[in-house]
């Protein structure tokens, strides 16, 4: 294809001649809306561009969002990149889109109501029954249902494409549980930080009012009798591709993020399993697709909340969107929206791409005749909303076998297949390493529906597409922020400004889903364990590097305790057989192996760090944005440790450990700071304290107890260094490490944040503040038992320092036993009393 005369403002930017470009007109002149941005871009050197992209990546990472919704499991996802260049749309053009989208929402809502109600459209054959009944989102359970305010759609999204003639077309309606709002929000936050001056000058419309509207829309989805409805975001959980968005959105809207297991249905209402018992829920922002809503009313699935479908039908809870709304998300229904509009006496302002449903014999034969002219979709394969990998292909790219299969499918089950004409779509400037280049862009527009009407997000989520792959299949990759210019006086105000707000009436402070509580607990434990591992290993390394002879000295009397200690911290069974390696292993290898276990293997630091970020992301609403940045950096270090560091003595190791420790400190700071001292924080604290207590004990068990007179001072130094208490120790006892002093500092001293006594005090305080449940008092007892063990070491005579026959200090061993047992029981009890999550144990039973 010929390139047109290049852009007047963007040197080297040459969109295809026969296409439409957002920024540049046919003769290369910059379109008005783009002038300001293009000028800004024109000033950038390639270096600037690279720098902006780096900054964008960093900021996206900082938001904790490395991945856009994608196909497979969380780990196999493609990275999310934000193109520093936004997609700019003029206010007037936007107004048309706005009107078109609003109209579609109205019509789709009526269609859904009809499908599950009177079925006029079906009886009159406006909608072919096979298209509807065959739609993956079609829900028998929704039949005869009347959602609150008889409104089915609260949230709607559409993917739009612009044709070569400049007109917008709908690629797909998303009416079940549309995603994108959260991503749009992230993109805006990032681009606002990245191009602040441009943002200020161009003043794209703010997204904030839209989210206010979203809250209203959700409130409006509540059953009529709920004056101040309580909403939660219902997500399938960590495994879900757009889990990030769920948690991000929840955090932004100030709602709890819950999974189906956190909810129960009783007496026709929905309740949240919370720390303080069951709490009533009025609205679910539903991000699980309608097939996974209720296992009782789904023939196969285990997923969902038993009884939820009936609760919804009985208006015991509002679902946004209502059960079954997904029916119109099927591409088989897409072509008939226009007909429905006509039936309702309207003309579609924003039509769909030409889409042929093969359920219609004419289309069927036309498509079979010229397979290669079309893009083929198997709607059944698309899933409710097609976020999963869609069996969509270019007819032209089929090999004979695939061709055969499609022909079979179209002949035997025509209702499943739709075909769209291949077309060239509009392009927009995209930053590439090679400079600014044109790229095909699909625009996801979002709208919410409240009592006051429909509000369309002034902006949205644009995705840069690879024209050589069917667009429906492209679910991740590069995105763009979307800027709508405020160049229109008559712009309607967001509905949130048209209503009086109700004062906050539900106080969620003390409310905490048990799942979140558990997550916070594990955030604490993993953070603490990571630090312990890092410090112990780094201390061991530096001591050995200072005096390698220690490895062999005293016939391993120094080495063995240290090695055992490292394995214990990593919770890995020590390979040492009664303290000795098989003779084939050299002391050096034995030591290296231990270091590797603690620092490099999944069992060690990388494992605990991974656990840390996983736990954190399932309690995101309690984790501040800054914290995500730090977690991000820790993630990076984790991969480095796992991958790069080949050898324990690699000089990179110590450097990495420093970074890890520094970031863990920031983490501690961030958690202390600007975190409400509510139950969530309390469980975090409990987790930290429990783990630190266990770590200290493990060190005493493995390192202190067997320290012989010869190795004692270097071993004790190691213990102190591992607990970051060397300085404190030196400041207080000017002596070389002495047992009693060591115990005093690390066990008895309730002012030293590293000491056991300190941890026990904290635990005691935190438990006292937890909502009491049966078994809570047991927790307190366990702490008291653990504290009681301190008398064992209340004052240590020099006899206590003597090694017993087994080469260990009996006093220490007795003490460790006495303290550790109740602590472990404490952890178990905590799990029993507060985290006991029945959903793990649920099972489905059938009967003939």
């Amino acid at each position: 294809m010929l390139a047109s005369s290049t852009s007047d403002l963007l040197p080297g930017y040459a969109p295809q001649q026969d296409g439409y470009d957002e920024a540049v007109g046919p003769s290369g002149e910059t379109r008005p809306a783009w002038k300001m941005l293009s000028r800004a871009v024109a000033l950038m050197t390639p270096a600037d561009i690279a720098d902006r992209q780096r900054q964008a990546d960093r900021l996206v990472e900082a938001e904790g969002a490395s991945y856009l919704f994608h196909d497979e499991g969380a780990d196999a996802s493609r990275p999310w990149r934000l193109d520093p260049l936004p997609l700019v749309l003029g206010g007037h053009e936007w107004a048309q889109i706005e009107r078109g989208v609003s109209q579609r929402v109205r019509i789709l809502d009526r269609m859904i109501a009809d499908i599950y109600g009177e079925q006029r459209l079906l009886l009159d054959r406006v909608l072919p029954s096979a298209a509807v009944f065959g739609a993956p989102g079609y829900q028998l359970a929704a039949h005869g249902m009347m959602p609150p305010q008889s409104r089915w759609l609260a949230v709607y999204a559409a993917d739009l494409l612009r044709l070569a003639n400049g007109e917008w077309r709908v690629l797909r309606d998303l009416t079940d549980a549309p995603s994108g709002a959260g991503y749009a929000l992230v993109n805006r936050n990032v681009s606002a930080q990245m191009l602040p001056d441009v943002v200020r000058d161009m003043a794209p419309l703010s997204l904030a009012p839209f989210f206010a509207d979203m809250r209203l829309a959700l409130d409006a989805s509540a059953p009529p009798d709920r004056p101040s409805p309580r909403t939660v975001v219902l997500s399938p959980g960590l495994g879900d591709p757009s889990y990030f968005e769920h948690s991000y959105l929840a955090a932004h809207l100030g709602y709890h993020l819950v999974e189906t297991g956190d909810l129960v249905v009783r007496h026709g209402r929905v309740w949240l399993r919370a720390l303080s018992g069951l709490e009533p829920i009025d609205v679910l922002l539903r991000r699980v697709d309608s097939n996974s809503v209720d296992p009782l009313e789904s023939a196969t699935g285990m997923m969902g909340v038993p009884g939820l479908a009936r609760a919804a039908r009985g208006c015991g809870v509002g679902l946004a969107n209502a059960l079954g709304s997904g029916v119109t998300a099927s591409m088989a229904v897409l072509p008939f929206v226009a007909d429905a509009a006509v039936a309702f006496g309207e003309e579609l302002m924003l039509p769909a791409l030409t889409t042929r449903w093969c359920g219609d014999p004419e289309n069927q034969s036309m498509v079979l005749a010229a397979l290669s002219k079309f893009v083929l979709h198997d709607t059944a394969g698309l899933g409710v909303e097609g976020v999963r990998q869609a069996p969509t292909v270019f007819g032209s790219q089929l090999d004979s076998a695939a061709r055969r299969q499609w022909i079979d499918l179209i002949t035997t089950q025509p209702h499943r297949v739709v075909a769209q004409d291949k077309a060239t779509f509009a392009t927009a400037p995209v930053m590439t390493p090679a400079g600014v280049r044109p790229g095909t862009v699909v625009l996801r527009v979002l709208a919410v529906v409240g009592r006051q009407g429909i509000s369309v997000m002034p902006g949205g989520l644009a995705r840069v597409m690879d024209p050589s792959i069917p667009i429906v299949n492209q679910t991740s990759g590069q995105t763009k922020d979307v800027w709508v210019l405020d160049d229109r006086p008559d712009r309607p105000l967001p509905m949130s400004t048209r209503v009086v707000r109700s004062m906050p009436q539900v106080d969620l402070r003390e409310s905490l889903p048990t799942r979140a509580a558990e997550a916070m607990y594990w955030v604490g434990r993993n953070a603490e364990r990571s630090e312990a591992l890092a410090r112990a290993a780094s201390s061991a390394l530096s001591i050995v590097q200072g005096d390698p002879t220690l490895l062999t000295a005293f016939d391993g009397g120094w080495r063995r305790p240290v090695v055992a200690g490292l394995y214990a911290l990593a919770d890995v069974a020590s390979p040492l057989v009664d303290g000795k390696s098989p003779s084939t292993v050299t002391p050096d290898d034995e030591f290296r192996a231990a270091i590797r276990t603690a620092l490099i293997d999944g069992s060690g630091l990388p494992g605990t760090l991974r656990g840390l970020s996983r736990a954190a992301s399932s309690a995101r609403q309690f984790v501040s944005a800054m914290t995500w940045r730090v977690l991000g950096e820790l993630g990076a270090e984790r991969t480095q440790l796992g991958a790069e560091v080949a050898d324990a003595y690699d000089s990179g190791v110590r450097r990495r450990l420093d970074t890890v420790l520094v970031n863990l400190s920031s983490l501690a700071g961030l958690f202390n700071e600007s975190t409400v001292r509510g139950p969530a924080w309390r469980f975090l604290e409990i987790g930290r304290r429990v783990d630190r207590a266990l770590c200290v004990l493990s060190v005493f068990d493995n390192v202190v107890s067997p320290a012989s007179p010869g190795t004692r001072s270097s071993l004790f130094d190691h213990v102190l260094a591992s607990n970051e208490s060397l300085v404190a120790y030196r400041r207080r006892y000017r002596s070389d490490a002495v047992l009693d002093a060591l115990v005093d500092l690390l066990i008895r001293d309730d002012t030293n944040p590293r000491a056991l006594a300190f941890q026990l005090d904290q635990l005691r305080n935190q438990i006292a503040l937890l909502p009491s449940r049966d078994g809570t008092q047991v927790l307190t007892q366990k702490i008291e038992q653990a504290s009681a063990s301190l008398v064992e070491v209340s004052w240590l005579t020099s006899e206590a320092d003597q090694l017993g026959a087994n080469g260990r200090r009996e006093v220490i061993d007795r003490f460790v036993r006495a303290a550790r047992t109740p602590l472990l029981e404490f952890a178990a009890q905590l799990n029993l009393v507060y985290f006991n999550d029945p959903t793990r144990l649920r099972q489905k039973v059938g009967g003939r």
Binding site: P196, A212, L493, L508, V662, S665, S666, A668, E724
Partner: protein, 309 residues
């Protein structure tokens, strides 16, 4: 180990200056964000930033214009402003430097880091494009320090003085923000962009997320004010700062001597009404609180430091 009076004072001020730097950065960043969220049509002024940091007079003495460029430069890097971020960090370092031997080693490293960074990147703090990067770094370092202190430092007297300084500064900053931004907003009444503005207020105290968690509902002026004043669970609210100060003093020798003073501050704080509908009134009340805090500050110094010859 006995804590030197001089060192106690240096810790106290060191902590205050670090906190001041962080708070200023937060306020600046949040304010910039708000402006980004507001359409050009809405006219915006940079004066509030000066008012919040209480440097209006000083600024006008050196600059004839009050626009973004001059205000931000003044707050971040202007040598004429002893409270500007660059100077605050330097002052913190200078104080902690001679109190170094009572700090965990990492703590000093962070302060030193922070100083080196801020000194080298003062211009980044001013330029709009790099401002957020600069802010992030300052906040991150300050958080890191906080983490190290709570994780590694014995709960000894030195620790108490650091926390005392931090709490005093926070109480001070929160009060200022309430007195200036909040008061102004209450005055102007609920306009279209009130929500955006209030968000700004919360963000500048890194309270947005926590506020939303606490009150699952749209942002509402009155409840924001109440949250920032009285919420005992939110570490930056005036009340929890005062609480922290009271507890801290209780753990210090002769802390009881200060009981009356702190009691008075509590009383004053209690008088500030969360449901003030009249901006001017709110402003006035926070002024009282300000001076009460100043009184407490002096009382602390004279009790533990006295006059050094």
């Amino acid at each position: 180990m006995a804590l030197l009076s001089r060192v106690a004072e240096q810790l106290y001020w060191g902590a205050r200056y670090i906190e001041r730097a962080e708070d200023t950065v937060r306020v600046v960043r949040a304010y910039t964000d708000v402006l980004v969220d507001l359409p050009t049509s809405v006219t915006t002024s940079w004066e509030p930033l000066l008012a919040i940091t209480g440097t209006r007079a000083l600024h006008d003495a050196h600059h004839d214009r009050v626009d973004e460029a001059s205000v931000i430069h003044f707050l971040v890097a202007d040598d004429a402003n002893p409270n500007c971020i660059v100077h605050a960090v330097a002052a913190a370092r200078e104080n902690l430097r001679s109190a170094r031997e009572v700090l965990p080693r990492d703590a000093w490293q962070v302060v030193n880091d922070m100083y080196l960074y801020v000194a080298a990147h003062r211009s980044d703090g001013v330029s709009r494009r790099s401002r957020s990067r600069f802010a992030e770094r300052v906040i991150a370092d300050s958080q890191r320090l906080d983490g190290i202190l709570s994780g590694q430092m014995s709960r000894d007297h030195a620790y108490e003085f650091l926390r005392l300084g931090q709490a005093m500064e926070r109480a001070d900053m929160t009060t200022r923000v309430l007195g200036v931004r909040a008061a102004a907003l209450v005055e102007s009444g609920a306009d279209v962009y009130a929500e955006v503005q209030w968000m700004g207020v919360l963000r500048s105290l890194s309270a947005l997320q926590m506020y939303q968690r606490a009150t699952n509902s749209p942002i509402n002026g009155m409840s924001v004010i109440d949250f920032l004043l009285h919420d005992r669970a939110f570490p930056r609210s005036v009340m929890s700062c005062l609480q922290a100060i009271r507890d801290g003093l209780a753990r210090l020798p002769r802390g009881d001597q200060l009981a009356p003073v702190i009691a008075e501050v509590f009383a004053t704080a209690a008088q500030v009404s969360g449901d003030a509908v009249d901006g001017a009134e709110l402003d006035a009340e926070t002024d009282l609180l300000q001076s009460a805090l100043a009184g407490l500050n002096n009382a602390i110094i004279s009790t533990y430091v006295g006059v050094l010859d």
